[in-house]
Symmetry: C2
Subunit: 420 residues, 2 copies
């Protein structure tokens, strides 16, 4: 009674048209598809329609959003191809039991690929959680501190400030450095940090999404028993990291590695199992570590997309190469800003400028709205700075192609020439 | 500089083949697609390959999983068609800022359609959260009780038991009735419930996914000021509910209304704003109500799928009609069990049998493995009972077609005839 065969997946890649600057890869898909199958008996002829309206974008645009953010085009195409019938199972990945063999393979591969990418040893648990980094702002002190314990916070922007404020509910949280008076444009010198000798951990935010400051290396807790804890939401998997320097790394996926809805925690195993009694069950790392992130139903689809992204990053050769690409992209953008004779201004100290989020302003701030609107018309969207700081922000995560940044800097130069 | 046009979406529906009992709708999709556009200049000729292997299912199968569970086929096809380029935006819905106009329209429509479906008044907030019902097991007492407050729990199965146990961390939780000694096959008579006069709320689980017992109507808290609170994860939107009888309803989406990764809470507004000081920020309803579920990045894709499901339920005419369909499906399944002369046994008391989850055993329990295996071969999967209870369980949520249950009961009769 098994169903008979049906047409198979056909992915047709068309060459980029010289007239189009967009990565307009086109895929012709048959929904109930199967992998590794014969394509030879399907023939298709696609003839372009004339544009219905030149203002309607038909292909990929360059999406500079801070998160949710652009994903690798190949990942979206694969997810689309598989969405109706995952690997011939007759079900969408969205419909599958999280305890079935298909999803089991997905989450295990996601974990093992992430371990490869970041060189995560068996001393660490890798957890796929829900609730965003904001949930971890509570979970970190609840899991690592007794109520009276002390913990140190370096506040380099809005996100580490939120982590610091939330931690005050659950431990004695100390603000040992704040960049607020300098509008969050700096990272402190590590030797000048006055850490508390009894602090259980030292918390940093690896990259501040809103302010665009990024740690290029990491401080060590002065107390040998203390732990370094990092929110790496917005630069996770954008470069190699020596995980062994950290007690805990956590990251919302929706910048570099997936859609929103899944949060990854990498926790040194010996730290697990000491949550405060008031810890909600879903915030207790032990619960998730003991059940391999399957204590209750996980966000399966988001984990599946992460798995595709990790696979893609490995196929690119891993994070050292990814970092080089990110340096090159950020390089031409910061150079354009710095060589604009003050037309564009990035307030962040050069040594700690983020490779991921590039905030800048126009000297003539009344032109910023026009800048953002014109860029959008040319297929570069989501360039508005965060509502708390204004200006312009270009988020250029792993999946932003070099061509996208090239196009942006060409536009910036042109805009400057047209509006001197 | 706008991109030029590209091939457009083409949805080809093929008639069902008489030889196939599966709802094998087939869609031919062009990935970078746009709605409402001209199709005439695309021509495709698809010639079937012979089956690679007859054992590989190529179309939809009937998925009886308890959750994540089957979704409406039309929803999956629509999500697939839109995945690469959402409404001509040049982005996937997965890549969009949660504060952009496209996602804003999605989440607002999801909320307004859900309000229509359930007749939710403005006295209630509708929240899209993360972490599953299990997170609500903590959030409910944290938001509705001071630490010493009393709350009553009726335990009709595993899920209400978990809710009761978690609440003990945050309030004085009273177990006022348990079906454990009768293996969770009953719902108590409401007039016999010994409620505590000082209880802040009375908690029930509307439908126990594992044990298959469902409330057909609802008890009232004896204290006029107390609230009825229900976990409706596994029968949410399967029938009309008078929301005004409840202080709070919560539900994980992954049964009737979406994929895993989003949890919906319907909270009476006057109850919001009194969370205990130790409430993690992400568990505080006020945080989410004040920011329309956008305090931090929500699980955008999961919410988008829910929006498509709500739209589909409205197009079906709403929940009264959906309930009728569910009654009809469950009816033929329970009839088959009851008319099998004890070959199949459902342990649940008839008056409270779930329309969603139908657990049963075979008198000859050694045949259960064979039953499940043979059903899978015929395209009916995920029929294994929960690991804690064994046996067989057919979850027949909204999106399970009548044809799926018809096929299951035909198989059951045939199996019984073949293995008397």
């Amino acid at each position: 009674m098994a169903a008979s065969s049906s047409p198979h997946a056909l992915l047709v890649q068309q060459p980029l048209r010289p007239s189009s600057p967009l990565p307009c890869k086109q895929a012709l898909l048959v929904a109930p598809l199967r992998r590794k199958t014969r394509l030879s008996t399907i023939s298709c002829t696609a003839v372009r329609s004339p544009p219905v309206s030149p203002s309607v974008a038909t292909g990929r645009i360059f999406n500079f959003a801070a998160g949710p953010a652009t994903l690798p085009e190949s990942v979206i195409l694969k997810a689309q191809a598989e969405l109706y019938n995952y690997h011939g199972s007759g079900m969408s990945i969205m419909e599958m039991s999280h305890r079935g063999k298909e999803f089991d393979a997905v989450i295990k591969k996601a974990e093992s690929d992430l371990r490869l990418l970041l060189g995560i040893s068996d001393d660490y648990a890798v957890l796929f959680l829900q609730g965003g980094a904001t949930t971890q702002f509570s979970a970190v002190p609840l899991n690592l501190c007794a109520p009276g314990d002390s913990a140190d916070f370096v506040v380099t922007g809005s996100w580490s400030d939120k982590a610091f404020k939330e931690a005050q509910k659950f431990c004695k949280a100390n603000l040992i450095w704040s960049g607020k008076s300098e509008k969050y444009t700096k990272i402190p010198a590590f030797d000048g940090l006055e850490q508390n000798p009894d602090a259980k951990f030292l918390h940093i935010c690896g990259n501040e999404t809103i302010h665009g400051v990024e740690f290029k290396n990491y401080p060590s807790p002065s107390n040998k028993n203390a732990l370094l804890v990092a929110d790496m939401s917005s630069n996770f998997c954008s470069k190699p990291v020596d995980v062994s320097k950290f007690g805990l790394i956590y990251a919302g996926a929706q910048k570099n590695v997936g859609p929103s809805g899944v949060t990854i925690a990498i926790v040194r195993k010996d730290l697990i199992g000491n949550a405060q009694p008031i810890t909600p069950v879903m915030l207790d790392y032990k619960i998730h570590a003991d059940s391999a992130s399957l204590y209750n139903t996980p966000p399966c689809f988001a984990i599946y997309i992460c798995a595709l992204v990790f696979e893609d990053l490995l196929e690119q050769g891993g994070l050292a190469g990814v970092e080089k690409k990110n340096q090159k992209k950020a390089g031409i953008l910061y150079d354009t800003i710095d060589e604009s004779n003050g037309y564009y201004v990035c307030p962040v100290e050069k040594s700690v400028r983020s490779l991921m989020n590039v905030p800048f302003t126009l000297k003539k701030s009344d032109l910023e709205k026009k800048f953002i609107e014109e860029a959008a018309k040319e297929g570069m969207v989501q360039l508005k700075g965060h509502r708390s700081v204004g200006g312009v922000r270009a988020s250029i995560y792993n999946a932003m192609p070099f061509a996208g940044v090239e196009k942006l800097v060409a536009f910036m130069k042109d805009f400057q020439a047209r509006h001197p």
